[in-house]
Amino acid sequence: MINVENINFYYGKFHALQNISMGMEANTITALIGPSGCGKSTFLRLFNRMNDLIPDTTLTGTVSIGGVDIYQKNVLVDDLRKRVGMVFQKPNPFPKSIFENVAYGMRVNGMNNKKIIAEKVEQALKHAALWDEVKDKLKKSAFAISGGQQQRLCIARALAVEPDILLMDEPASALDPISTSKIEELMFQLKEDYTIVIVTHNMQQAARVSDHTAYFYMGELIEYGETKKIFTNPDKKSTQNYVTGRFG
């Protein structure tokens, strides 16, 4: 479903991603792990072209989703970002009501049928396992709920535009353990309808949650395979050193 071939990415002169090729299947969870600065977040941002916002970057190679190169000239970036949603490390709900946060994506896409919006908001909040907790305070500010709930709100907000792919950049690193495990449980349910790629610096989380794991180091893809294998018997010594904590 997602495919990259011979990707090289530069921040100015810095060679951030070196010759990476890999593919991800639909309805799987892929974890990207590796030490700080290894390029995993940069790699994640390729898929919704958020790197475009950073000046002076260069990309060579192909990134395709569903067989289509998303960096082609005629690709509309806003369209792409509806199909590829993103959840950020620190919860960033808008200073609007809970309802309006979830409805935002629909509104910017031109939808204004009140009934449909209300239905989809409810659906998205249910998908994000947040509906029961907020259903009687939809008009309250998004800042009136806890951090873990805010993050699930951001997930609902991303789901409301009905993407195919969900990118998660360390979604639980700013949260307490209980919120973290709620979000991990959520991911198992979401897997049925979405393809998920998650960046995490928490190896145990990658092990718990993902089907495939990609280990990055200094911009290179060292190893990519089934999570089962990576955590029981990885091919490369470097990978083993990292997952056993002997790294560095």
């Binding site: 919704n48 792409l80 949603g85 950020f88 808008f94 935002y104 991303a158 535009v161």
Partner: protein
């Protein structure tokens, strides 16, 4: 033992310095309040004598020694409105441009430099410029139009700067969140950034209004009339204005002593207008902030 004593001495000294400086800060703070209070009290005491319904609604009579200041009030209101109509949209849009669209590069730095320089130009120079361009070259004559444009130019840098600050203070994470949902840059600005920046932009508005109401030099050659009891009917008309009226009465009126009371009354009205407008803008800002929360 010696070490302990030294430590204690150092601690005591630190605490003394703190007490001194905080005391100073407190005094400074109070002084500001005192000064403002003094000005208000002084003007109020001196000017309250002439305050009456007639003062506010009637025109000046008897060579500006008696009557009211209604035309000047109207004139000042017109100029506030006119200059805001000019400065506010241009200033805000310009601020949005430099912060959201043309973020980096020599061009933006140049624009910022020019904006800052503009705010340093003396107001009388603005007046002269306004007279030269609007009154003479463009042929508007002494008019509300010329005066508004000149005053607008005067406060333009203020509006631009406060807009820039307001927008820059909004964390990128909100922009990223919006863009990641498929919103365009324009939608992000309209639906997320501007609403959040609005309260601070209104602050810029408040500052500008205060400035515009009280400036005398820019309106000297462009719109202010010495004595014009009729209310303006078009933007090409001249008008009286409160600050100029105050100046005129206090310095070159026909009978300075007699009209001194009116001068203080004018000052009082001017202050009241500015404070009222400030208050209104603050109320609006707080209301909007509450809605956001």
């Amino acid at each position: 033992m010696n070490d302990e004593i030294k430590m204690q001495q150092i601690h005591r000294r630190k605490r003394l310095y703190e007490a001194i400086f905080f005391g100073l800060f407190r005094i400074m703070g109070f002084m500001v309040v005192l000064i403002l209070g003094f000005i208000l009290c002084f003007i109020t005491m001196k000017g309250i004598g002439v305050m009456s319904w007639e003062f506010i609604t009637a025109s000046p009579t008897d060579g500006l020694t008696k009557g009211g200041i209604f035309p000047a009030i109207v004139g000042t209101m017109c100029l506030i409105a006119g200059s805001m109509i000019f400065a506010f949209p241009i200033g805000v849009l310009s601020g949005i441009y430099t912060t959201e669209y043309a973020k980096t590069g020599k061009w933006v730095k140049f624009i910022r430099l020019m904006t800052n320089n503009l705010s340093g130009v003396p107001s009388i120079v603005f007046g002269l410029f306004g007279m030269s361009l609007f009154v003479n070259t463009l042929g508007f004559g002494d008019s509300i139009l010329a005066g508004s444009l000149t005053l607008g130019l005067l406060v333009l840098p203020v509006v631009i700067r406060t807009t820039e600050e307001a927008i820059l203070s909004i964390d990128d994470s909100f922009r990223h969140g919006s863009l990641a949902l498929g919103a365009t840059k324009l939608q992000t600005i309209n639906r997320v950034v501007l609403p959040m920046a609005f309260p601070n932009i209104i602050t810029g508005l408040i500052l500008s209004i205060g400035r515009v109401s009280g400036e005398t030099a820019p309106i000297l050659f462009t719109v202010a009339a010495y004595f014009l009891p009729q209310l303006p009917t078009s933007i090409f008309d001249q008008v009286m204005a409160l600050p100029y009226h105050l100046y005129v009465i206090a310095t070159s009126g026909t009978n300075i002593e007699a009209s001194r009371g009116i001068a203080y009354g004018t000052a009082l009205v001017l202050i009241i207008i500015v404070l009222t407008l400030n208050l209104a803008a603050n109320v609006i800002r707080n209301y909007i902030q509450k809605k956001i929360k």
